[in-house]
C-alpha cells in the first residue's frame, strides 16, 4: 500500500518553478523528470485559505463555506475565519473514517486544530504557541523548544506588521521560521506513523509579496540593482535543498507531490472598487460619512435603502448586489454590472483583460449570505481591488498598509512522482479540486460520492 507525502509551497508560480529557475532547483527538477507535472487551476478566488482547503477536500469555495478571511457573525461583527468555518470534510476526516493516519502541518485554516487520527499543527492564522495549535499536546512542547516560537507560525508578527519589516529582517525571520518548521516536520516524519502527510511552507508567499519588484524588471516600481535581487530565488534554492533532505527520509513506496495553491505575479496597481461603484451611482453612502480621509470600507457606512451594489476584496473584487433595492431587476442589474466592470480601463485608458464571474455559474452552493454575487479579476488579477473609502479617483498604488509588490495569480504548480506514477512529463492543466480524489485513489480508498471532481489518471 502506498503512502502520500505533499510538500506544499504557498504561492509557488509555475513560471518560476517550471520555467525561469527550474535548473537551479535540482530536487524539484528530479521529481518532474521522474514523474508528471501540471499547472493547477486554483479556486475562484485564488485565496490561500480557500485554495489549500479545496485541494484537500475536492470542493469549491461555496462548499467549503469560506469566501474571505473574515465573515459577519449574527450581530454583524466581523470575525476571523477559522477551522470551524469549514463546512465540508477534509482528507484527514475522510482518512480517519477509514482508519488511516494523517499528519497535517501548517495548513492554512487549521486553527484551532482538530483531534485527527494522527497529528496536526495549525497554520499561519494561529495566534501563538499557547493557543490550540497542536495535536497531540506533546507537539506543543516540541514547538516551544525551538529557538523562536513567536515566529513559528508566521513571520508577520508584532505591531509593526509585515510591510514595516525591512527586507533583511524579513529574510532572516523567514529562514528562521522555515528551519524550525522543517525540523519539526522531519521529527514527526521519522517518529510518527502516517499514511498521508502534508506540510505547507508559507515563507514563499511572504517573501514574494515583498520582493517581487526587486527582481522583476518589468515591474512598475522595479528597484534596479537591488541588493535583494536574488533573495527570492535563493530562498527557493534553500527550500529545494530541504525538500531533498526530506526525500532522503521517505521510503520507495511513498508518492511525493509538490504543489502550490496559486501562483503569483507583479501587481500593477489597485482599482478603487467602491469609488467606482459610487461614481456609477450603484453605491450610496449614509449622510455625514466623512470622506476627507482614507477609511476602511464597512457596510455600516452604506445606505442600504438606496445602494444597488457595494464591493470588497483585497486582490480580487467581490461585488454584492442589494436584492432589497433591485428586487426583480436582479438579473438585469447583474448583467449591466458585469459589462461595465469588464470595461474599466487601466490608468492610461487601455482596455484590461478583466473577467467577471457570477456566483451561480461557478459555485455549487451559492446560497450563503457571505457568497458574493460577482467576483472580479481585474486584468486577470494583475490589478488588485481596493475597497477603502476616501481614496482619490479610481486607481491607487501603494497602500498605507499591506504588501503590494505582487498579487495572487490563478495557476499554481502540481508535481507528482513515485513508483506507482505511470504518466510522465507535462500533463494537461488540472483543477485544484482533482487533487483530493487523486490522493484517495492512490491510498486505495473509496472516493465519497459528494466529491465530483475526477481523479487525475496517474497510476499504472
Amino acid at each position: 500500500m502506498s503512502k502520500v507525502f505533499i510538500f506544499g509551497i504557498d504561492g509557488a508560480p509555475p513560471e518560476l518553478i517550471f520555467g525561469r529557475w527550474n535548473n537551479e532547483l535540482p530536487n524539484i527538477k528530479r521529481l518532474m523528470d521522474t514523474g508528471a507535472y501540471a499547472k493547477v487551476n486554483s479556486t475562484i478566488p485564488p485565496s490561500t485559505i480557500i485554495a489549500w482547503n479545496s485541494m484537500l477536500s475536492g470542493k469549491d469555495a461555496s462548499q467549503i463555506g469560506v469566501f474571505s478571511y473574515t465573515y459577519k457573525d449574527e450581530d454583524g461583527n466581523s470575525r476571523l475565519a477559522n477551522s470551524g468555518s469549514i463546512k465540508c470534510k477534509l482528507l484527514w476526516d475522510i482518512l480517519g473514517e477509514q482508519d488511516k493516519k494523517s499528519i497535517a502541518l501548517y495548513v492554512p485554516l487549521t486553527f484551532p486544530v482538530k483531534q485527527v487520527n494522527g497529528c496536526m499543527v495549525s497554520g499561519f492564522l494561529t495566534p501563538g504557541v499557547e493557543s490550540d495549535c497542536a495535536y497531540p499536546e506533546k507537539i506543543r512542547e516540541k514547538i516551544i523548544s525551538k529557538g523562536n516560537p513567536e515566529i513559528f507560525f508566521d513571520v508577520a508578527v508584532g505591531l509593526a506588521g509585515h510591510k514595516s519589516l525591512d527586507i533583511s529582517t524579513l529574510l532572516e525571520r523567514t529562514y528562521e521560521m522555515t528551519d524550525m518548521q522543517i525540523e519539526l516536520l522531519k521529527d514527526l516524519l521519522a517518529n510518527e506513523s502516517w499514511d498521508f502527510f502534508i506540510s505547507v511552507m508559507i515563507g514563499t508567499d511572504r517573501l514574494q509579496h515583498m520582493l517581487w519588484r526587486h527582481f522583476d524588471d518589468t515591474h512598475r516600481r522595479f528597484i534596479k540593482d537591488s541588493p535583494h535581487k536574488d533573495a527570492l530565488k535563493d530562498y527557493y534554492i534553500y527550500l529545494d535543498k530541504k525538500l531533498g533532505e526530506i526525500m532522503e527520509l521517505l521510503d520507495d513506496d511513498t508518492i511525493i507531490i509538490v504543489a502550490s495553491d496559486h501562483g503569483m505575479f507583479k501587481q500593477e496597481g489597485k482599482i478603487n472598487i467602491n469609488n467606482w461603484l459610487a461614481k456609477e451611482g450603484y453605491l450610496v453612502l449614509k449622510e455625514g460619512i466623512d470622506l476627507s480621509e482614507k477609511k476602511r470600507f464597512d457596510t455600516k457606512f452604506v445606505d442600504m435603502d438606496k445602494t444597488v451594489a457595494y464591493g470588497g476584496g483585497a486582490y480580487n473584487a467581490r461585488v454584492y448586489i442589494n436584492r432589497k433595492v433591485v428586487g426583480a431587476d436582479y438579473n438585469k442589474v447583474k448583467k449591466e454590472l458585469i459589462k461595465k466592470l469588464e470595461n474599466i480601463p487601466n490608468d492610461k485608458g487601455k482596455k484590461l483583460d478583466t473577467k467577471v464571474y457570477s456566483s451561480e455559474d461557478i459555485y455549487k452552493d451559492p446560497s450563503s449570505r457571505e457568497c458574493p454575487d460577482l467576483i472580479v479579476y481585474f486584468d486577470e488579477l494583475r490589478w488588485a481591488s481596493n475597497p477603502d473609502l476616501g481614496q482619490e479617483g479610481l486607481y491607487s498604488w501603494e497602500s498605507a498598509v499591506g504588501a503590494d509588490n505582487a498579487g495572487h495569480s490563478r495557476q499554481g504548480c502540481f508535481i507528482i512522482s513515485g513508483k506507482w506514477v505511470a504518466c510522465k512529463g507535462q500533463i494537461d492543466d488540472i483543477d485544484i479540486k482533482q487533487v483530493a480524489p487523486t490522493i484517495l485513489r492512490l491510498l486505495g480508498l473509496k472516493i465519497p460520492d459528494d466529491i465530483t471532481a475526477k481523479p487525475i489518471e496517474v497510476t499504472k
Partner: protein, 75 residues
C-alpha cells in the same frame, strides 16, 4: 498512537462481538482501532463545539487581523 502509549480498557464481550460485526468489510482492522476512532470523534466534537463559539480571544483576534492587514489580505 505509538505502542508505548497504549492502555487497555474493558468492555462487555457482547458489545465487542457487535463491534466486530460492524467493522467487517470496513477499513478498520481491529475492535480497538474502531473504538479509538469513535471516542476521538466524540471527544473532539464536544471540544470543537466549545471552541467553535469563540476560537480567538479578543486580543488574539486583534493581533491576527493586524497581521493579515499588514499582508494586504484584509479588505
Amino acid at each position: 498512537m505509538e505502542e508505548h502509549n497504549i492502555t487497555t480498557v474493558s468492555i462487555p464481550k457482547i458489545l465487542a462481538e457487535k463491534v466486530k460485526k460492524r467493522i467487517e468489510g470496513t477499513g478498520f482492522n481491529s475492535i480497538s482501532s474502531y473504538i479509538t476512532y469513535i471516542l476521538r470523534q466524540i471527544i473532539s466534537e464536544s471540544e470543537d463545539s466549545e471552541k467553535k463559539e469563540n476560537p480567538f480571544s479578543k486580543e488574539d483576534e486583534i493581533k491576527v487581523k493586524e497581521r493579515l492587514r499588514s499582508l494586504g489580505y484584509l479588505d
